[in-house]
C-alpha cells in the first residue's frame, strides 16, 4: 500500500514538472528565457516518470532497469541540445549590443570568423 502511494506520487510529480516545462515554454517572453523552462523541468519530469516506471515494474514482480539508460541519455544530451539552441538564438541576435563582452578576448565563439 505504502509503495503504491510512493509510485503514484513519483508519477504525478513527473507529470507536473513536464506540464510546468511546457507551460513555461508557452508563457515566458523572449527566446532565451523560454529556453529555461523545458530543458530542465522536462528533464526532471521525464526522469521522474521513468523512475516511476522502474518502481512500477519492480512492484509488479518483473524487475527491469533499462529505463535508466533513457534517463542517463536524456541527462547527457539535454545540455548539448540546449547549448545548440542557445547558439541559434545568439546567431539570430547578432548585431544587437546587449551582450556583455568577454574579458581579455576578441569575441564570443559564435561570432568569431570562421
Amino acid at each position: 500500500m505504502l509503495i503504491e502511494i510512493l509510485i503514484a506520487l513519483v508519477i504525478l510529480n513527473g507529470a507536473v514538472f513536464t506540464l510546468v516545462g511546457s507551460y513555461g515554454l508557452l508563457k515566458l517572453t523572449g527566446p532565451m528565457s523560454r529556453l529555461h523552462a523545458p530543458t530542465k523541468a522536462s528533464t526532471l519530469g521525464v526522469g521522474s516518470l521513468l523512475l516511476g516506471s522502474i518502481l512500477h515494474a519492480f512492484a509488479s514482480g518483473e524487475g527491469s532497469m533499462h529505463e535508466v539508460l533513457v534517463m542517463a541519455f536524456l541527462f547527457v544530451t539535454a545540455p548539448i541540445s540546449a547549448n545548440f539552441i542557445a547558439k541559434v538564438n545568439l546567431h539570430r541576435l547578432r548585431g544587437r549590443p546587449e551582450l556583455p563582452p568577454p574579458p581579455e578576448s576578441r569575441d564570443w565563439a559564435t561570432y568569431a570568423e570562421k
Binding site: E4, I5, I7, A8, L9, I11, L12, G14, A15, V16, T18, L19, G21, S22, Y23, L25, L26, P31, R34, L35, P38, T39, S42, T43, G45, V46, L49, L50, G52, S53, H56, A57, A59, S60, E62, S64, H66, E67, L69, V70, F73, L74, T77, I80, S81, F84, I85, K87, V88, N89, H91, R92, T110
Partner: protein, 89 residues
C-alpha cells in the same frame, strides 16, 4: 490507485504536448520552433513510457530509446543547419 495516477499523468503530459505544439505553430523565431520540437520529443518519451506502464509491456521501451536518440540528433542537425547552412562539414 497507480492506474488512476497513470491516467491522470497521461492527461497532463498530453496537455503539455499540446502547449508545446502551440509554441511550435506561433514561433516567432527559429530558435523557438527548434526548442518546441525538442520539448515535444521529450514529452513524447514521457507519453510512451506511461503507455508502457499502463499496458504492462516492455516493448515500448525500445521506441522510447529510439525517440530519445533520434530527437537529440535531429535537434542538433536543425540547429547546425541554421548556424552553418550545412550539416556535415
Amino acid at each position: 490507485m497507480i492506474d488512476l495516477s497513470l491516467y491522470v499523468a497521461l492527461g497532463m503530459v498530453g496537455l503539455a504536448q499540446l502547449m508545446a505544439m502551440v509554441r511550435l505553430v506561433i514561433g516567432p523565431d527559429t530558435g523557438d520552433r527548434i526548442l518546441a520540437l525538442d520539448t515535444m520529443v521529450i514529452n513524447a518519451i514521457g507519453l510512451i513510457i506511461l503507455g508502457g506502464a499502463i499496458w504492462g509491456t516492455q516493448i515500448y521501451f525500445e521506441s522510447a530509446m529510439i525517440f530519445a536518440m533520434l530527437g537529440f540528433v535531429s535537434t542538433v542537425a536543425i540547429a547546425r543547419f541554421v548556424l552553418r547552412g550545412d550539416i556535415i562539414e
